[in-house]
């Protein structure tokens, strides 16, 4: 579904990702693992069009995403939930969700259905619908960003550091959410520092360190891997 070949990313002359390859199949949950600064976020930004690659190919369902504007990529079916829970703090929860549906806002019934589905999946958002986004708790905000990503009705959902700064109990709920999303047939890429969480929700994992892939394989293989540990400790 998503094929990345030999991707190189740079800020100015500073190359943050070198020769990165990734292949994600339909319905799969793929974890990008690596320490802070490994280049995970840059890869997600490149996929969603926020960053232009220096070299390499990104194909989604056979179409190249290179030089495609972010809003077109959303329309193509990729939603990117950015790190740091970037909700729109002064807008209500409902408005946040509606902004997420920008690409098909004219189709009112569809939007309404999506909102109802989100409310069903995240009941707290329904309770807080009229509240300003900035007043939600950390876990609620993370739910909101994921729900907002789902509003675009993506086939591929990319979530950046969902567990950052969340309490363990909330992380558990989040893991349930991911399993629920997977059961709906959604393809997911989750970029995580928290390997434990990633291994719980993902099918396959790719470990990045220093901008390069250091390991790639199934979660089970990953779990036993020395390399994972080394990637973290050695970085």
């Amino acid at each position: 579904m998503l094929e990345i070949d030999d991707l190189t990313l740079a800020y100015g002359v500073n190359r943050v990702v070198r020769g990165f390859n990734l292949s994600v199949d339909q319905g799969e949950v793929c974890a990008l693992l690596g320490p802070n600064g490994a280049g995970k976020t840059s890869i997600l930004r490149a996929i969603s069009g926020l960053m232009r690659p220096l070299a390499g190919q990104i194909n989604f369902e056979g179409k190249s995403l290179i030089r495609r504007a972010p809003d077109r990529i959303v329309l193509d079916g990729i939603a990117h939930v950015p790190e740091g829970r970037r909700i729109f703090p002064e807008m209500s929860v409902l408005d946040n969700l509606l902004v997420g549906a920008s690409v098909h806002i004219r189709e009112r019934t569809k939007t309404r259905e999506l909102i109802e589905r989100n409310y069903a999946m995240f009941p707290i958002l329904k309770e807080r619908a009229r509240q300003a986004g900035g007043t939600l708790s950390g876990g609620e905000q993370q739910q909101l960003t994921i729900a907002r990503g789902l509003m675009a009705q993506p086939r591929l959902l990319m979530v950046d550091e969902p567990t950052l700064g969340l309490a363990p109990a909330i992380i558990n709920t989040l893991a349930d959410t991911f399993r629920a999303l997977k059961s709906l047939g959604l393809t997911i890429i989750v970029a995580e520092q928290n390997a434990e969480f990633a291994l719980r929700v993902a099918d396959n994992g790719t470990v990045i360190s220093g901008g390069e892939v250091s390991f790639s394989g199934t979660v089970d293989a990953l779990r036993d891997s020395e390399r994972l540990r080394r990637a973290y400790l050695g970085a």
Partner: protein, 291 residues
């Protein structure tokens, strides 16, 4: 007491006009984070468009008024495309200076086209009647501009807070990159915001021109006052614009009347400094995220 009340009314009326001028500036700043000094000349050119359409072509005031809004909206889009889009990630000095350059270019062009000696009236509804209550009078024309202002602000409020367009604008203001990830087209939002900002400038120009005649230097004082208003009301706050506009207009009038005719600008600028010291984010603003 009557005199005081009368000054309150005059000040409120002038303040409403200034609020419209400031709202355009505030809107563009709120979403796009640029203070556009050329806005002063959009106000002036708006007055001239209204004059050409309403007076020279002999149409109704409102035809000229809407023409001013549309033409200035379009001109504002042109300025965004030609200049401001290249300055988005640049220091504010560059943005301010570029807009100052535009101010000079537009101002001189208008002066060359229209000269500055003639009086250019625009006939407007309500010119020949007034409400009186005892000693106090409210001119019809001023009432009309107050009504227009209220309609403009209500529409602006509706657009920004009740439509999806407004939602995308607010989203862009609160997180430009995140908004792009929602599929919002940045260029389109910029165009709309600049159109609305320019149109509000044009509307302010048409109203000021109709009340007090159109002239090439008519953009300067409203621009200064609008700068004060957007700081006072909170940068980028629309509700702040109208409240601050009212307060500023009233303060200006009371200063002239009670302190001295030469000192009209004194109290507004003193108040501005005081506000900046006590509450830099303004009456309604959140702390400035950009600076």
């Amino acid at each position: 007491m009557t005199a005081f009340a009368q000054q309150l009314i005059y000040g409120a009326s002038y303040g409403m006009n200034l609020a419209v001028a400031a709202a355009g500036l505030a809107l563009i700043f709120g979403v796009y984070r640029v203070i556009n000094l050329a806005h002063g000349q959009l106000i002036m050119l708006g007055g001239f468009v209204a004059y050409v359409v309403a007076t020279q072509l002999g149409t109704h005031f409102f035809v000229g008024f809407f023409a001013a809004m549309i033409v200035m909206g379009l001109l504002s889009i042109v300025l965004e495309n030609a200049v401001f889009r290249f300055l988005q990630r640049r220091p504010l000095t560059d943005q301010l200076l570029a807009s100052l350059g535009l101010y000079m270019v537009l101002g001189t062009t208008a002066l060359r086209i229209w000269g500055d000696f003639e009086a250019r009236p625009i006939a407007m509804p309500g010119e020949d009647w007034a409400l009186t209550a005892g000693e106090i009078r409210i001119d019809g024309a001023r009432l009309v501009t107050i009504a227009i202002t209220l309609v403009l602000f209500a529409s602006l409020y509706f657009v920004v807070y009740r439509t999806h367009l407004g939602r995308t604008m607010r989203a862009t203001a609160q997180g430009e990159e995140t908004a792009a990830l929602m599929g919002i087209k940045k260029r389109r939002v910029a165009a709309i915001v600049f159109f609305l900002g320019g149109a509000l400038g044009g509307a302010a120009g048409a109203m000021l021109g109709a009340l007090f005649n159109v002239r090439p230097d008519m953009g300067f004082q409203p621009l200064l006052m609008a700068l004060v208003i957007i700081i006072f009301g909170g940068m980028g706050s629309i509700a702040g614009s109208i409240v601050a506009g009212l307060i500023l207009g009233i303060l200006y009038n009371l200063t002239v009347f009670y302190v001295g005719s030469k000192l009209g600008d004194l109290v507004p600028f003193l108040v501005l400094l005081a506000i900046l010291m006590i509450r830099p984010q303004g009456l309604f603003g959140l702390p400035d995220r950009n600076a």
